[in-house]
Symmetry: C2
Subunit: 886 residues, 2 copies
C-alpha cells in the first residue's frame, strides 16, 4: 500500500519532494537525534490523492493519519481530547517550495471546552489556557471556517472598551472566558453550526483546509509567476505543542552557538524560567544570560550544550536555536543558520577551519562580501539611536561628524585650525577641491552618484551624500533647512555615507580594523581566485592604500583628477582657453612635469605591478567656471559697470564657455574624441607617463604602464591614438636613451565598441570594460538624471530588479561585455580583458566577470578586499567539479 | 606557340584577365565595329614572361610585337619613324584592376628630330609639332628614364622668363625648338646618353617601363591593401595617335547620344574644325553645335550618328563620346556612360523602355534615388553664380529667398502682409513656431541637425540651415555680420537648405515638378519593391502630402509636435508646472480634444492606411521657457525690482525649470519614462487616439492606429504601458459603444531594447527601429554636439566613412537592428518591423533594411519617392536569381 504519512524520524532532509521543505527539515533534526517535539508529516502524495478523490481524504490516508497520531500520543504520553493530559498540536502546510498565499499555521489544535481546563491545570495558569483557547478559535475560524478575522477583532475591542482596558495584558482569565463565549457566538452566526469541539474533527478539517489552500487564487498566481508546477502538491505537518510555562522546571529561550557579534566560540543567548516564547519577546520580564542555566538546570544545560555542539557539527555552521523546557525536558523548536556581523562571520569562518569543521573553500563562502564594507570604513555605532534629519544618495561610504560649513575656503581654514567640518553645498565644482580635502565629508543637495562631489569623495575614501534635495541651502544666510528645522553654520551633524542619512549632533563611531583573521581569510581567497583584482586609483596616496588592501595593480587611473587640483586648474583653463596652438602648448608644457610626478608616485606605490592609465576623458568645459554663475555675473556687470574691463573679460570668458557648452556632455566631445581633435593634449600625457617610466627604469624599478584610450567607438580612432602613443614612446626612448615596455589598449564603454570588438582588437593589447558608461549608453540612461528622476521609481515599481549602476545588468549590458570578450579574443586569442566600472566592486557582477572570462576586475581601493573575497567565491561556486562540503 | 600580343579586333570585353581592363574595352569597341584608332595589346602573360626571364622581354614576345606593329602600320598607312608619314603611338599600362601608382600614359611615341618635321608638315602646324615633341621628351624622360620632372619644368620656366612671357600660349614654334634642345641636354646630363631617337628603341623601353611599374613600391602597397594578387601582371596597350588638326577635313568634338539635361532623344554636343581636344577645353575658339556637322561634313555626321546609335544599343545606355576626324576619317577615342540630371535620367530610362532597349527593372536601376531631391524641392537655378556669404549645416532641403527678420512676431506680421521673409535666430524654441510657419525658411547660428529649428522645418518641408556659427547675430541691432559683411533687417538673402549655403540677394529658382514619366517610373518601382514605404507625418497636412507622394501609411507620427503649436504651448506648460494631479488633469483635458482633432485629420488623410503614433517622447523641459533667458531676467529683476510680484513669479518658474533641467536630456526623463511616472499624460494621448478612431469608425471610415511606446529599454516598461493602452481602449469602447482595432508596439532605439528584443517582442505587435536615437546611443554621440564639434573632422580624417546620422552604420548600429529583428521574430515569427529614423529615406540604408527583412521604411514625406525607388532597386539587386539585363 502507498505510504502517505511519515513520522518525523522516518524521513530526512533529502525527501523534500514527498515531505515538503518544512517536513523534511523537521525529519532531519529528528533523525540526527535532536529533541524535536514529536510529530508526523502527511505527504504531498496525499494531497494529490485528495484532489484525485474530488477533494476528499482517501480512506487509506485517514487510516495512516490515525495510526501516526496514535504513535505520537504514546510518545508524548498525552492524548488528543483528553481532559487530563491533553495533546495539543500545530498544523502547518509545507510545500516543496515555500509559497506565500497558502495556509500557514494553526496552533493549539485540540483545544475545546474540556481540554482548556486540563491545560489550565497543567500549566497552573488559567489566563494562559483561556487566552490560548480563544487564539485557537480565532485562527481556526479564520483559516478553516473562512470567517473574516475582522469580526473577532471587533468583538475583542468592544470587550476591552467595556472593561475600560487599554491593552490585552490587562485581560484576566475571566475576561478571556467571556471572549470565548462571544467568539463561539460569532462562529455560530456565520456557519450556523457550533464551533467544532471534537479534536479529531478539528484535525481533519484543518488537513482539508491545508490541501484546499494549494489551489486558492493567490497560490495559483504565485505558482504561475514563479513557474512552479501545479502537480507538486503540499504536505501537512502535525506536531505536538510543548509549553515552557508549566512551572519552575520549565522555561524557554533563544541561543546562538557562538557570539554573533564577535564570533567568539561560546554559547550566547538568554532564557526565562516558566515562560513562553512570547514572554521573551514582550519584554515584561528580563531574561537571564544562557550561562546561568548551568546553575539553575545543570542537566538541561548539559544536554543543550551538547545539542548545540551537535547542531554545529551537523550543519557545519553557527546556529540560532529556539528551545523550550517542558517539565525538565528539553525541546528544540527551531534551528537555523545564525545571522552575524562581518567581524563575527570572519572569526567564525577562520575558527571553524582551525577546528576542522569546514575547509577553507567553505569558509570563504561563509562571509558575505557586502558586509566587509563595515570593517573598512569608520561607521556609526549601531547601539546608539539615529535621529534621521534627511536622506540623500549614499554617494561614498563611511561616516563622519563635524561642524557644518558652506564654503570651500571656510572648510580649508577650519581644517588648518584642526576643526572637523562637513562641507555642505548645492553642488561642488573643481574650485571646491581644497575644501573637500579639508572636510571630513561632503553633502550636496543636487547631483547624483557620478556628480563631481561623489566622484572626488569616493576617490579620496571620504564619506559623501549627494542629491539630498530635502535640504534647502541658503548660502548667503549660512544655513540650511529641512522642513521646519534650521541648521546653521557651525552646528554639528553626523552623516552616514553608506546609507545617505544625515543626523543632528554627534553619534559615537566605530573605527575600521583589518584583523589578523581578516587578513588570513583574504590570503585564502587569493589562493582560490582565478581572476585578478586591481584598484581604481588616481594619485599616489590612493595607489598606496590600494596596494595595502591587496590590489594587484591599478586598473584605472583617471588622469583628469590630476587636472582638478586647485593649483593646476588655472593652467588647465589656460590650456583650454588658448586661442592658438602655441599658447596651448605652453600650458601643456607646464602641466607635463606635474603629471609626470603623479605617475612616478603611482608607479612607485604599485611596486612593479601594472598600472592602467586612462588618457583625458571628460569634456573640456568641465574644467571651466560654471556657465550660469558666469551669466549672472555678466548680467549684473552689464547693469552696474557696463564699461568696465571686468565685464569685457567675463563676457569673453562666457563666450568661450558657451562655445564649449554641450547639450549632452555624456555623449559629447570627450574621451578619445579630445585626443583626435587636440592630439597635443594626449601627447603631453603620454610623454608624462613615459618620462616617469624612463626615470624609474633608470633607478632600476620595474614599471608596467598600460595606456588606455577612452571612449573608442570605431577602430580607426584607436588606430590613430595608438600610433600617437607609439611615436611618442619612440621619441622619449630616443631622447632619454632608456628602454621601457608598455601596452596600449582601450576602454570598451560604448555599445559600438563591443559590437565591433573583433575589429578594435586588432589595435588593442587589452580591453577594459567601462561598465559605468556602457550602462548609460546601453540603457540610454544619464546616470545623473536617472537616479534623481525616475530610477528610484523604476526599482520600486519592480520595472528594474536593481539599480543597474550598482549591479551589472547581465541581460543587456552583460550581453555586450560577453560579445566584446568573445569577438575580441576571436581576433586575439590571448587578449587581456578587465572591468573598471563600479561593478568591479560588486559581488554578483564579479561573478559574472569571472564566468565571462575576464582577467581582472578593478574597483575603488576600499572595495579591494570585498572583490578579492567575491572573486574567490565566484571561482569556488563555478568550478567544474561542483564543490561539495567535506 | 603562346599568343602574347592581340590586335584590338582579336579581343573582346570578356578578356580582361589577358588584356587588362583598358585593352579589353578597346577590343570590345573595335569588335562591334566602332572606328577606334588601330592598335594592339601586349597581354598580361607577356608581363609574367618578362619577370620569368629576369626582366627581359622574351624573343617570342618581341617577334609578336613587331608583327602587330607591322599590321598597325599597314592599317594606318603610316610608319613608325617615317619622316614623310610618321606613325605616332600612345603606350598605356592596363592591369585587370585599375591601379594608381602604375605607369599611366606616354603620348606621341615615335617623335624624333626627323618625324617632328613630318608632323609639322602634315598638320601644317609647326608650333603644334614641336610642342608635341617636347611634351613627349618630358613624359618619356620622366616615366621611362626616371628623370625628375622638376628639371624640365625648371628649364621651361627659365626660358619663359627669359622671353618675358607670362604663359605657354605665348611660346612660338622656334621657342619650343629651343626648349627641345635644352630638354635633350638635361637627358644627356642625367643619363650620360642622348635622348633615344630610334622609335623602335623608344617603344621597347616604354614596354619595359610599363612592366617594371607593376612592381614599383606604390603598386605593391596598393595591391596589398586591396588584396589584388601579385601574379596577375599588367598588359600594355599600343595605339596609333590621330590628329584633328590636320586641316579643314579634320576636327574634334564631344557629344552625348541624348540631351543630358532634359533626356530628349537627340544628339547633343559640340565640335571644332581643324582642332585638337585641348582647343575645345581651352575655350579660345567657340565650338559649334553638333547639328551643324551635318552640313559641314555630311558623310562624317552620318557615320557618327550611326555610331552613336550603335553605341547606345550596345551599352544600352546614353553615351558620352569623344571623337576626332582626321582627314575626313572618323575616330572614336572614348565612350562612356553619360552623366545626366535627374529629370534627364528619368526621361531616358522611361524612353528606353518604350524603345525596347532596356526592361523596366533596368530602367529602375538607371536613376540614382539621391538625385530625386532635386525634383521635389524648389531649388536654385545652377546656371546663375552663387556668391556664398556663409555656410551652415544643411538642416532641411529646398531653397528660399526673402528679407531677413530676427523675430518670430515680425516674421508673422510680414507674412500677413504677404512679404517673403527668412527668420534668422541664434536658435529657435517652441515660442517661435508662428514665425517659422510665416517664414520662407529658417537660419540659426547654433544647434545641429536635430535642433528645434531643424526638426520643425523638416516636418514642414521648409528650407533650413542650422549651426551657422560664422553668423554673428545681434538681435538688438537687428543685424548679423559675417566677417566684415553686415546684413541688416530687411536685406534680401537666398539660402540653399540642401547645401547649407547662404547667399546675398535674390537668385532665380527652379520650381519642383513631378512629371508623368516620374510617376510612371515610380509605379514600376511599386510593382518591384518588396518593402513598404511609409512617411513620418505629424499633422494632417504632412499626411496629405505623404499620401500624394505615395506613402503607404504613416510610420511615425510624433505627437510632441502637436504640443508645440503656439496656441497649445501655454496649456502644455500649465500641465507640466501643475503642482498636483488635479491641475495636471485639467490641463490634459484641455489638450485632449486638440490632439483628437489632429489624429482625425491624419487618419482621414491616410484613407485607411496604417498610422503609427508615437506617444510623447521629449523631456518635459523642452516645452518650458529657456533657462538662461529666465536666469538673466531674474537677475535683472533682483537688482531693479527686488520686491516685485513679477520677480516672485519668475523665480518660482526658474525653480521649476531647474527642477526639470537635465545634464543629458537625450538620456534623461523622456520617452516611456514619462508615461511610467506620469501615466495620465499617456492616457490622455491614447484616449485622443481612440476617440478619433471611434468617431471615424462611426462615419464608416477604416482606421488603423498603431500605438507606439518610445524609448523602451526593458520589457517591463512595455508591459506596463501596453496594459495602460489596452485598459484605455476598453474604457473608450465601453464609453462610445464603438469597436475599433489597433495594435501596440515599440520603438527599438536604445541598445538594450535590441539586445533583449526576444523578451520585448512578447509585449509588442510591432517594432519600429528608431535609428536616429539608436545611432546616438550606439556610438555614444549626441548628434547636436557631435555634428558641431568633431563629426566633420572625423569624416575629413576618414575615421568614419560617412556621417552615421545620414547613412546607417551597418557594422555597429546595423548589427543591433539585425539582432532586434532576429531575436524579435524568434519570439514572434510574424512580428512586423520597420524603421523610422532618417535612414528610412537614404538609399544604402534602405537596401540594408530590405536585406535585414524589415517590412517597411518610413521617411519624411518629401523623401517618399526616393524611398520607393530605392526600395525597388534593393529588391532588384538582391533578388536570388541574379538579375541580368535582357
Amino acid at each position: 500500500m502507498e505510504k502517505y504519512v511519515y513520522l518525523f524520524h522516518e524521513g530526512n532532509s533529502e525527501m523534500k519532494e514527498i515531505l515538503g521543505g518544512k517536513g523534511a527539515n523537521l525529519a532531519e533534526m529528528t533523525r540526527i537525534g535532536l529533541p524535536v517535539p514529536y510529530g508526523f508529516t502527511i505527504s504531498t502524495k496525499a494531497c494529490n490523492a485528495y484532489y484525485e478523490e474530488n477533494k476528499s481524504i482517501p480512506a487509506s490516508v485517514e487510516a495512516q493519519v490515525l495510526e501516526a497520531l496514535n504513535v505520537l500520543e504514546q510518545k508524548m504520553n498525552k492524548k488528543l481530547g483528553s481532559a487530563e493530559n491533553p495533546l495539543l498540536v500545530s498544523v502547518r502546510s509545507g510545500a516543496v517550495f515555500s509559497m506565500p498565499g497558502m495556509m500557514d499555521t494553526i496552533l493549539n489544535l485540540g483545544m475545546n471546552d474540556e481540554t482548556v481546563e486540563g491545560v489550565a491545570r497543567l500549566t497552573n495558569n488559567d489566563r494562559f489556557a483561556y487566552d490560548s483557547y480563544r487564539r485557537f478559535i480565532q485562527m481556526f475560524s479564520n483559516v478553516v471556517l473562512n470567517i473574516d478575522v475582522y469580526y473577532f477583532e471587533q468583538f475583542l475591542e468592544e470587550t476591552r472598551e467595556k472593561k475600560g482596558y487599554q491593552a490585552d495584558p490587562e485581560m484576566t482569565a475571566e475576561d478571556w472566558q467571556e471572549v470565548i463565549t462571544g467568539y463561539k457566538e460569532i462562529v455560530r452566526k456565520h456557519t450556523r453550526k457550533d464551533f467544532p469541539q471534537e479534536p479529531m474533527e478539528q484535525l481533519f478539517l484543518a488537513i482539508n483546509a491545508v490541501f484546499d489552500s494549494w489551489n486558492n487564487q493567490r497560490a495559483i498566481v504565485y505558482r504561475r509567476l514563479n513557474k512552479i508546477p501545479d502537480h507538486l502538491g503540499t504536505a501537512v505537518n502535525i506536531q505536538s505543542m510543548v509549553f515552557g510555562n508549566m512551572g519552575n522546571d520549565s522555561g524557554t529561550g533563544v541561543a546562538f552557538t557562538r557570539n554573533p557579534s564577535t564570533g567568539e566560540n561560546k554559547l550566547y543567548g538568554e532564557y526565562l524560567i516558566n515562560a513562553q516564547g512570547e514572554d521573551v519577546v514582550a519584554g515584561i520580564r528580563t531574561p537571564q544570560p544562557i550561562a546561568t542555566l548551568k546553575e539553575e538546570m545543570p542537566e538541561v544545560f548539559q544536554q543543550f550544550s551538547e545539542t548545540c555542539h551537535r547542531l554545529e557539527q551537523h550543519y557545519q555552521d553557527m546556529q540560532d536555536i529556539e528551545f523550550t523546557v517542558e517539565r525538565g525536558k528539553l525541546f528544540i523548536l527551531q534551528t537555523r543558520t545564525g545571522k552575524r556581523t562581518a567581524a563575527a562571520a570572519i572569526q567564525i569562518a577562520v575558527d571553524m577551519v582551525e577546528e576542522g569543521i569546514i575547509d577553507k573553500k567553505t569558509a570563504l563562502l561563509r562571509v558575505d562580501p557586502d558586509q566587509l564594507n563595515q570593517l573598512l570604513h569608520r561607521r556609526i555605532d549601531d547601539s546608539y539611536p539615529r535621529n534621521q534629519l534627511a536622506k540623500g544618495l549614499p554617494a561614498s561610504p563611511g561616516a563622519a561628524t563635524g561642524s557644518v560649513v558652506f564654503d570651500a575656503d571656510e572648510a580649508e581654514e577650519c581644517g588648518k585650525d584642526g576643526r572637523k567640518v562637513i562641507l555642505v553645498r548645492p553642488e561642488t565644482t573643481p574650485d571646491d577641491i581644497h575644501g573637500i580635502i579639508a572636510a571630513q565629508a561632503v553633502v550636496t543637495s543636487r547631483g547624483g552618484m557620478t556628480s563631481h562631489a561623489a566622484v572626488v569623495a569616493r576617490g579620496m575614501g571620504k564619506a559623501c551624500i549627494c542629491g539630498c534635495d530635502s535640504l534647502k541651502i541658503d548660502i548667503k544666510a549660512k544655513q540650511f533647512t529641512v522642513g521646519d528645522k534650521v541648521v546653521k553654520y557651525g552646528d554639528i551633524i553626523t552623516i552616514d555615507g553608506s546609507t545617505g542619512e544625515i543626523m543632528l549632533g554627534e553619534i559615537p563611531m566605530i573605527e575600521p580594523a583589518l584583523s589578523d583573521e581578516f587578513q588570513l581569510l583574504l590570503s585564502w581567497a587569493d589562493q582560490e581566485r582565478k581572476i585578478g583584482v586591481r584598484a581604481n586609483a588616481d594619485n599616489p596616496e590612493d595607489a598606496r592604500k590600494a596596494f595595502e588592501f591587496g590590489a594587484g595593480g591599478v586598473g584605472l587611473c583617471r588622469t583628469e583628477h590630476m587636472f582638478m587640483d586647485s593649483k593646476r586648474i588655472p593652467i588647465v583653463q589656460k590650456m583650454i582657453l588658448a586661442d592658438n596652438y602655441e599658447d596651448r602648448m605652453e600650458a601643456l608644457n607646464q602641466l607635463l612635469p606635474m603629471q609626470q610626478g603623479d605617475f612616478e608616485g603611482i608607479f612607485e606605490a604599485m611596486e612593479g605591478n601594472p598600472v592602467t592609465i586612462r588618457l583625458l576623458d571628460p569634456p573640456l568645459h568641465e574644467f571651466l567656471p560654471d556657465k550660469e554663475e558666469l551669466l549672472v555675473e555678466v548680467t549684473k556687470l552689464q547693469m552696474n559697470a557696463p564699461f568696465s574691463s571686468e565685464l569685457k573679460i567675463k563676457e569673453s570668458l562666457l563666450k568661450k564657455v558657451r562655445q564649449l557648452d554641450e547639450f549632452n556632455p555624456m555623449l559629447g566631445h570627450r574621451g578619445c574624441r579630445l585626443g583626435m581633435i587636440y592630439p597635443e593634449i594626449y601627447e603631453m600625457q603620454v610623454k608624462a607617463i613615459f618620462y616617469a617610466a624612463a626615470n624609474l627604469a633608470d633607478k632600476g624599478m620595474a614599471v608596467k604602464p598600460e595606456i588606455m584610450i577612452p571612449l573608442v567607438g570605431h577602430v580607426n580612432e584607436l588606430r590613430k591614438m595608438r600610433k600617437l602613443v607609439i611615436e611618442t614612446g619612440e621619441m622619449v626612448m630616443n631622447q632619454t636613451g632608456k628602454e621601457f615596455s608598455y601596452t596600449v589598449g582601450t576602454m570598451i564603454e560604448i555599445p559600438r565598441a563591443a559590437l565591433t570588438a573583433d575589429l578594435i582588437a586588432e589595435e588593442a593589447d587589452f580591453f577594459s570594460f567601462g561598465t559605468n558608461d556602457l550602462t548609460q549608453t546601453t540603457f540610454g540612461f544619464s546616470r545623473d538624471d536617472a537616479e534623481g528622476k525616475f530610477l528610484q521609481s523604476y526599482i520600486e515599481q519592480k520595472v528594474l530588479p536593481e539599480n543597474p549602476f550598482a549591479v551589472l545588468d547581465q541581460n543587456g549590458v552583460g550581453m555586450l561585455v560577453e560579445m566584446g570578450v568573445k569577438l575580441g579574443r576571436q581576433t586575439k586569442p590571448g587578449l587581456k580583458t578587465g572591468i573598471c566600472g563600479e561593478h568591479g566592486g560588486e559581488k554578483s557582477s564579479i561573478e559574472f566577470c569571472y564566468k565571462t572570462g575576464l582577467d581582472y576586475v578593478s574597483c575603488s581601493p576600499y572595495r579591494v578586499p570585498l572583490a578579492r573575497l567575491a572573486a574567490a567565491q565566484a571561482t569556488i561556486r563555478n568550478t567544474k567539479e561542483a564543490y561539495t562540503t567535506a
